[in-house]
Symmetry: C2
Subunit: 245 residues, 2 copies
DNA sequence: CGGTTCATTGATTCGCGTCAATGCAGGTGG
DNA sequence: CCACCTGCATTGACGCGAATCAATGAACCG
């Protein structure tokens, strides 16, 4: 089921708003940044702006991949399931992140909105055609894909070889770093996902995540002002734990 | 240290051999397949053929990425290390696989030859320049990167959520499938890597890998005619185990 | 044939998972 | 405004699967 017809999703043709790209918050950080004004207009022509309610499923694993998206606002989680329900979250997307660089025929994972989400959606077929005419966009996508591959390798090291402590420390560092990259404070950081989501991202259970939070708090590395906020009190120590130090 | 100057590596300029691409075994499966004869000639012009001895390190993690390669013969392992020596192998490359799609400034992992290896090496700078003139090559690289991303997601599910049994079954299926894709028999399969390598790829220890091999053999799913060969006796059962069934 | 390397097997330990209870905040309705 | 519910998060007791430590076995090689 595509998000266009899904419960919790509404679409707006960009033409209905005046120059939706000019005041776009992620214009400078997303894939669009490499486009000339004339090229940008062509991208805009095939785009639809979507508003998703919390919990909306954008698409499911192995469905034919009909759309690619740019996350403009909010957060999205990507995950894979085993038949018995075990879940592995393979990534969290924040504003400026591109969903579907892989350009494969079918989705390799399911995607779900984690709060209110606004995104800029492109039909895959049309975008692929556009790619042949906008080599700089294709080059940029290859760059993005490269970054994702590097992140995936880091995650494999984390899942295969790190302890629960090291995993959580790595996760908190990563979120902090990505917040800073989007021009937000690097502490306190905001966690839009539940403990269960963090567990499914780190290959742990909710309980272990919770216990490890408490442990890092007790030793003074972090503070937990609320359930969704984390103060990074000793950044260096956190990074050291993350790298197995 | 680049492989060009490393012990165990010797380089041959392709010009020294007549038309090295025409009789290339991986011509039809590697990234080169999309190139027209004239384009292929330009690729060849910047290529060096390398011969590596077993155990030769091609490059190490975080080194500036000066070269990309196409594996022509043999197998290569990619891995990341933690400061205390814990290792995660992030991939095995076989003939036809491309090393360094990411195109990043520095390598995200170390690479080591697992036996006698022949590869076709390109300076990154020159290849990047060539990319701007060969859009079909860039398109192909994006395709390859997409495939790698899909494989990486599968591996995350494996490392984060599968049991030892499921991991080994997934691994054996994957190797069998890749062998078939290269036109080789899908059983018995040949494992050019040690039990320790398999463990470091699956996030397990040598001992657990060994015990799990024995277990799968005892239940008749596989046969172990030698240490490096695996007979897949019940393929469906193996696939089922791999998917958590 | 001794030496080296790697795979296998066994005994024990330990980190994390599982099961279960309690705590806590936000929302709802009386 | 408060009693109650509901959905997370936290904490505790216990068990299990894989790691660790240690010994033995099998293949290879000069």
């Amino acid at each position: 089921m595509a998000a266009g017809s899904a419960a919790g999703a509404t679409a707006v043709k960009p033409a209905l708003r005046e120059s939706p790209c000019d005041d776009c918050a992620i214009r400078e950080t997303s894939v669009c940044e490499v486009l000339e004004p004339a090229q940008l207009a062509r991208m805009r022509a095939i785009a639809t702006i979507m508003y998703l309610e919390p919990g909306t499923t954008l698409f499911q694993e192995s469905e034919p991949a009909e759309h690619l998206c740019n996350v403009v606002e909010g957060a999205v989680k990507l995950y894979k399931l085993l038949p018995d329900g075990r879940r592995q979250i393979t990534g969290f997307l924040f504003p400026g992140d591109f969903l579907g660089v892989a350009l494969n025929k079918s989705y390799a994972y399911s995607a779900e909105a984690m709060g209110n989400v606004r995104l800029c959606r492109f039909p895959r077929r049309k975008l692929e055609n556009l790619l042949t005419e906008l080599p700089n966009l294709e080059h940029r996508l290859l760059e993005v894909a490269g970054n994702e591959l590097v992140a995936a390798q880091d995650q494999m090291l984390l899942l295969g070889r790190k302890t629960a402590r090291e995993r959580l420390a790595s996760f908190l560092s990563m979120v902090s770093r990505r917040a800073a990259a989007r021009g937000r404070p690097d502490s306190p950081i905001d966690l839009p996902m539940s403990r269960a989501d963090i567990g499914d991202y780190l290959g742990l259970t909710t309980e272990t995540v919770s216990r490890t939070f408490t442990q890092l708090k007790k030793q003074g590395t972090i503070g937990l002002p609320s359930q969704t906020k984390v103060d990074i009190l000793k950044r260096e120590e956190l990074e050291e734990i993350a790298e197995g130090g």
